[in-house]
Assembly symmetry: C2
Homo-oligomer: 245 residues x 2
Amino acid sequence: MLSKNQIKVITSLDKKKYRIKYQLFVVEGRKSIQEFLESDFKLDQLYSVEDMFEVPDTKKNLISETELKKISFLTTPNKALATFRIQESKPIDTNRLIIGLDNINDPGNLGTIIRLCDWFGIQDIICNLKTVDLFNPKVVQASMGSLTRVNITYIDLHSYLNSNQISPVYGAFMDGDSVYASKLDQNGILILGNEANGINKTIEEFVTHRLSIPHFNPNKKTESLNVATATAILLSEFKRRTIEK
Amino acid sequence: MLSKNQIKVITSLDKKKYRIKYQLFVVEGRKSIQEFLESDFKLDQLYSVEDMFEVPDTKKNLISETELKKISFLTTPNKALATFRIQESKPIDTNRLIIGLDNINDPGNLGTIIRLCDWFGIQDIICNLKTVDLFNPKVVQASMGSLTRVNITYIDLHSYLNSNQISPVYGAFMDGDSVYASKLDQNGILILGNEANGINKTIEEFVTHRLSIPHFNPNKKTESLNVATATAILLSEFKRRTIEK
């Protein structure tokens, strides 16, 4: 049986304020929970409709489908929900290509970008402070466990670039040089901007290479690509070069 | 003033059944509506909170923000909503690369793929019959006007491949040949499968080239990429070849 207070705490975790207060975040679904259990993240409590994970009894809560519905953030709850402890990010490895996100708003976009970074072997994402929180339930959901394998650091991107000698600094722009024809190093940072406003002027100052994805439609009416699909194309192009014949 | 019946008809258009009955679909937001007005699609009625489009008076309806909220499918309605007439797709141009979608379920994914096709100069998308409907309001929203520039045909993909000599037939698989190392023609068809189940066995028979996006993370735990991001990477690679130095 879930107590009223448990329900209240768990459902409050869609808000950053309460995630900070309780130092907890929510993971849903068998697969994602299993990936978090196998990671460095520490389990707080597990709520499931059947006994499906090997965790200490003190952390197990068998609940009904009805109870799961009450605490789930999904339209169709998926057998289990777990709360994990928020943990600090690890030091950034500046010898490898880093992804910098300048105020990405949409949780689905951030989740997709985390999944892409995991696929393409990117270890570090640096997020400007206004970027949507990585422990937002929708980000956790969209990242599908990749959150356990990519190190995400929230930082003032301007100060970070100002005080660290990161080079090259690639930025994604509508009017940059074709990514296909550009020399692409496997270190430095690649910055992606906000969905509506692109990269901030104050961040743009640091960019040494303006990259863009060429338009292949002669009418050129599509104004831009979604930031997650642009990230997919840029990362594919960076990583393709490492296996070039 | 909107009549009760107008509200009823417009809000019913989130269901395919009613879109077929009335032969109408909904477009929201100033930019998207403008793109549809400039296209072959025929305007049915326009509902806006201010006079912002050049359309015949008989099709103009000035409404309040409160009324717009009643008919909008968006959480934050965007100044205007229009109903347009559903129209038949045009003949498929088999001399150029076609995208084939084998039962894509998610409207956001279909919308993103339409936008990508527009960007990369793909003229035709063929959708298997169970693919989410292109006039679904979420598809129209996610495609951001690209729907007016890409020709989308719903067809039994198996019969189509069986009765047309389309070659090559590329398919996206988890275990195919690296897209980066494969010869890619600028004609034929590239098939993307359902989000959960991939390409149907009956469609797979026709595939002449199994393509995949290599995994760059040594732990290889990310199981798959989202179908829209996979489409982004594959189309980027097909089109990059056309501007190869």
